[in-house]
Assembly symmetry: D2
Homo-oligomer: 155 residues x 4
Amino acid sequence: MTELQLTQTGVIDHVIKLFQENMPFNQLLGVRFVTEDDSIRLEIPWDDKLTGNPLQKILHGGVTASLLDTIGGLTAILSAVKQTQDGHLAELVTRLPTMGTVDMRVDYLRPGRGKRFIATGQVIRKGSRVAVCRMELHNERGDHIAFGTGTYMLG
Amino acid sequence: MTELQLTQTGVIDHVIKLFQENMPFNQLLGVRFVTEDDSIRLEIPWDDKLTGNPLQKILHGGVTASLLDTIGGLTAILSAVKQTQDGHLAELVTRLPTMGTVDMRVDYLRPGRGKRFIATGQVIRKGSRVAVCRMELHNERGDHIAFGTGTYMLG
Amino acid sequence: MTELQLTQTGVIDHVIKLFQENMPFNQLLGVRFVTEDDSIRLEIPWDDKLTGNPLQKILHGGVTASLLDTIGGLTAILSAVKQTQDGHLAELVTRLPTMGTVDMRVDYLRPGRGKRFIATGQVIRKGSRVAVCRMELHNERGDHIAFGTGTYMLG
Amino acid sequence: MTELQLTQTGVIDHVIKLFQENMPFNQLLGVRFVTEDDSIRLEIPWDDKLTGNPLQKILHGGVTASLLDTIGGLTAILSAVKQTQDGHLAELVTRLPTMGTVDMRVDYLRPGRGKRFIATGQVIRKGSRVAVCRMELHNERGDHIAFGTGTYMLG
């Protein structure tokens, strides 16, 4: 791994790379991490192996939960990075291994039907130790499939 | 598919088979359905592809959520079958395609470390249209990894 | 009580009156029901008796939960009325006594400080038997104090 | 106020007194704090002013949520006190004003009918900064009325 740059941009790139390349389950699902301007979202194409409901061709509720949890955790960590001054980023990086989800609620609004699914998140409670995020899953037509609310420990 | 027997036992076998054989995502995860006396549980062996935390060898939170959601939904449906008289089972079977999770909360108690994981569930609110279940995930040593609470629509 | 008019407007007035005049706990809290155009919200003035945190002058978390649950339930019922044709309103009215909250999540974002608090809600999952709502609590300055998510049984 | 004794017992008494005497909303509800051996529970007698459902004589969902939130927060704080050595209690006491609920889920299992209601809690995830509790509400006959799950910030 190339040397980590202890700037906000450097740490953000490092975190996204960890999620993308070092979390095998995200690769199993086929998750792509798409950054645009100042935001990040997940995208996943439909794949028959993600089918949940045995009688309809829709996403397994666990796939939805996985995408919402992943974007929620990533959003929480990136927000923490953005509110940390360069001088304190080293300390934040040492806490990365103990960051994680405390709890999450998923509300399933519609059957998970579509060709492509997009997960987005935003922080609704910021803090140095705990953050709370709201997450959403839509399909490529903009149908709103699920809401998530997650509480994340920032180490 | 062999003909469905419209008895409680026949419908229970039918539902378990649907979850086991017709939900590809459960097969992707490697879920086994274990019935014992009157109860059912899920088991899943550790597999590197299920890794979540990039810096530790622990289950992705989405795998935990998937297992809890699956055992919760299965427990809710089987409970509905058990409280349905044989004469009404045909009507229940027609509702199977529209059964599904309304919402779920997952509480992550410990890092998901282990060689094998076991998911169990119980109904805490019974109803003909909606059921609420509590679910638990333990590893093979009995460490309690996560709690779940899910609300399921029964058609 | 005057005779109930079995029109959407008549049933809406009836339901709001039930919440306002026949739920003593709402009166104990000092809740006012404010209708405007097609929407309804709750308002409550600060009162020392609602103090929760012993060391700060802020709302008890239970007051926040009460307001969110009340507006969530009311919003769910009014939405059900609005999607019911006049000919079926009598049947809906007979189900009112068994409508109620299945589950609710509250996210506390900021200390509940203010002179006046406003609770609003919207339906995110409609259904004939179950509805899911998102609720918000703000103070008179627009500070966002809490989010709620509730699942309601419609009889 | 008498001088605070910086022993575990002293701080526990101090915290319970704060909840009992300095949270007016608990007094408005009529909450009693009952300690027995090493545990604490809340008790509340039925009172018409706590009525929620306008068409049945049952507890307002907000009362249930208030009781669960209160016992959850108290249980989380007392657990933190018990795992803190005497030398660090002063620092914990300074954090008391910023302790509070991050999020809570309530599952309503049965109508809140009874002469007396008892709320109990237990810690399911311990931590120095965040604790997660499970709470239960029963009536005097032992009927299980509601479950709660709450995440608490410990300063």
